[in-house]
């Protein structure tokens, strides 16, 4: 922005006479112009979801078979019937609340441990050399394989469940933080050092903000994986949780309830990822848009 431009914008209010407040229609128009892209995305999103539902409805109503078989897949209406039954059942709310709590605790712990660990590993080679091999061995182990060990490791089942969701989100957070650290421009670091910054300041002012975008990518992915591991984790629960709900529906072969559980996990996963993206915008205003 040039100096003349600044002078121009600041001088404008002084020279123009006060204007009448803009009419409602102008405001609406202005709001529409500002949010046009967002609205467009929402509209297209709704259309695409509706199309998905319609295709699902048609495939299951006509029991389509073309290599993939929809003969016994529950229809959207059957799932909706399950849903109306479920929302009148206080237990269903309990399932959702408990699952959200488990994910929240597991995910928060993963973020609290994963981000600093990633920063330290990215900054200090020795820490990287010690921790990286262990992390790489543990990372590919699927959540369901952890079930017996988790039961034995932790004194209560609730802790075992949280532990599995923790593992799910921990590794994506760690790996993305590390990746962010490796991409920090060394010129920036050297510049800070030349200006006499100490290690602490460099960490706070250079490394951390520079790797924040990647940290948030890690958090978003980590949140997704936490939900992915939920069914495995809640196999232990035996009573509550949306993952348990889905698992129990499977053991009683109730297809509509299985689909309802799957969709509930999907929607909750979407909601929590949106929360993280929102937090990311707040923390990194310079990346707005």
């Amino acid at each position: 922005m040039s100096a003349s431009a600044i002078a121009e914008t600041t001088s404008v209010p002084a020279t123009t006479p006060p204007v009448a407040p803009p009419s409602f229609s102008t405001l609406a128009l202005r709001w529409y112009r500002l949010n046009r892209d967002g609205l467009r995305a929402i509209a297209i999103g709704i259309v695409s979801l509706a199309a998905f539902l319609l295709v699902w409805h048609l495939l299951t109503t006509y029991r389509v078979v073309f290599f993939v078989r929809f003969t016994n897949v529950p229809s959207p209406l059957a799932v909706y019937a399950s849903f109306t039954k479920a929302i009148h059942d206080p237990k269903f709310l309990m399932h959702i609340v408990l699952s959200c709590r488990r994910i929240f605790i597991g995910f928060s712990l993963a973020a609290i441990v994963g981000v600093p660990l990633g920063l330290i590993m990215g900054r200090f080679k020795l820490a990287h050399e010690i921790i990286f091999p262990v992390a790489e061995v543990l990372r590919p182990i699927p959540a369901i394989a952890w079930v017996p060990m988790a039961i034995m490791l932790w004194p209560t089942n609730e802790q075992s469940i949280v532990y599995i969701t923790f593992l799910g989100s921990f590794f994506p957070i760690l790996v993305n933080t590390l990746h962010g650290m490796s991409l920090v421009d060394p010129v920036l670091v050297r510049a800070a050092q030349c200006l006499g910054a100490r290690e602490r300041s460099i960490f706070r002012e250079v490394y951390f903000p520079a790797s924040l975008p990647h940290i948030f990518t890690g958090l978003t992915v980590g949140m997704g994986v936490a939900w992915v591991s939920l069914i495995a984790a809640e196999m232990i629960s035996g009573q509550y949780g949306i993952g348990y709900f889905t698992w129990e529906a499977y053991s009683l072969v109730q297809y509509a309830d299985i689909a309802l559980g799957m969709i509930a996990i999907g929607v909750l996963g979407l909601g929590s990822s949106m929360l993280i993206r929102g937090a990311g915008r707040l923390v990194m205003p310079w990346r707005l848009k």
Binding site: T71, N72, I151, M152, M235, Q239
Partner: protein, 473 residues
Amino acid sequence: MVRHLPTLSIAMSVTSLALLLAPPASAETVTLGIGIQDTTTNTVTAGAVIRQLHLLEKYLPKDGKYANIKFEIEWQNFTSGPPVTNAMMANKLQIGMMGDYPLIVNGFTFDSNPESKSRLIGIAAYSLSGSGNGIVVHKDSPYYDLADLKGKLVSVPFGSAAHGMVLKAMQDRGYGSDFFQLVSQSPEVGSTNLQEKKIDAHADFVPFAELLPFRGFARKIFDGVETNLPTFHGIVARTDFAEKYPEVVVAYFKALIAANQWLRDDPKLAAEKIQEWTGINKEVVYIFLGPGGNMTTDPTIKPALIDAATADVKVLQNLGRMKEFDPKKWVDDSYIRKAFAEMKLDYDAQLASTKNYEISGEDSFCKKPITDPRKAGEVWVDDAGILPFSSAACTLGAYADFKAKGKKINVAYVFDGTRGIKLFANQAFFAVGNGEVAPFLLKKDAEAYAAKISGKVLGFDDAVKAAVGGGKT
């Protein structure tokens, strides 16, 4: 001259390859998927044994309409019934086996399948008294009866035969639905949780109520016999397959009859082989499938079992898990009847009989023949085999004798004094006094009997000493 040879040989090999790859025009391959449960010991004669001994291949029809059909048999192993139902719905399996509750869910689920229904076509094994399902607690816990579990955390795989047993037991005793804190856990999860003492009790189906005590960390405090509701594992088939290839289903039953015969011909060998094939300890296999065992292998579809299924349907309906379903219409015994007829066996005679095979022979320790098999016992000596004894006292006496001679003993079996079910001797409670040694599953039964004979209740080691001393305490 020489140059021509490679060309010729290439031409020849191409031709022969083409001949190999192109199947005869009329041949057809049909895949038969059978869903089995290797670890659910009472289904092994309908699954693992037929698979390992290749019995189905032996009986498959090969002429007439089958001359040009090649059957490819796919055995798929699961640890519980619902995944079998799921795969049957998807037509990945055509025949499946599972316990009573999952069977009903299977039949009911298929009601809404437009392609095919499922029919109960035979039985793998049953217990008319309901044994096989049971409730176990950690061996260090202070619980000896269901009543002790009031308000405690009890897990059971929901939708399983064991779940049905728990509900029936609660109903029989007039316990409200909140008497236990009942949660759903699969056998794998429940076993680990019990070992870690995270739950107070675990109810499960065959073989876990015997397997967990045998593995040394659990104690059985409730056996399905107390509900007196028959339990069974049965075989279901998709009607579209069975109607198209009825002879194949008949062949499967011939294989099942042969497998049951193989088991009874040499139960010890069978137990050892089944351990090798399924990983369940042979001592546990034997307590279910050996003579006087807690399960009877008999493929006929007994009316008592269907009545039990009808009762199970009511339980599921009360839980809101099921709508209308009539087990009587779901049974189809035509295939098993045909197999019996073709093997020159009498189906109706077998249908009427509820006898298991029993322990027999000569007691080598007390030197007398075995007259009452349900008061007898057995000792499995590592190198000498499984030896029968005429009474619990003789069994324990022989046990002490083998020990004194330095023999390695795998396990000893006795029978419960009131319920006639087979027990691991080292898990039983013994009422000892007046020259009598009477084993019991439950401490309270042993106490009641001890009061009657003015004796006292002993654990296994003390009971062995008492038996050597002539049944005096």
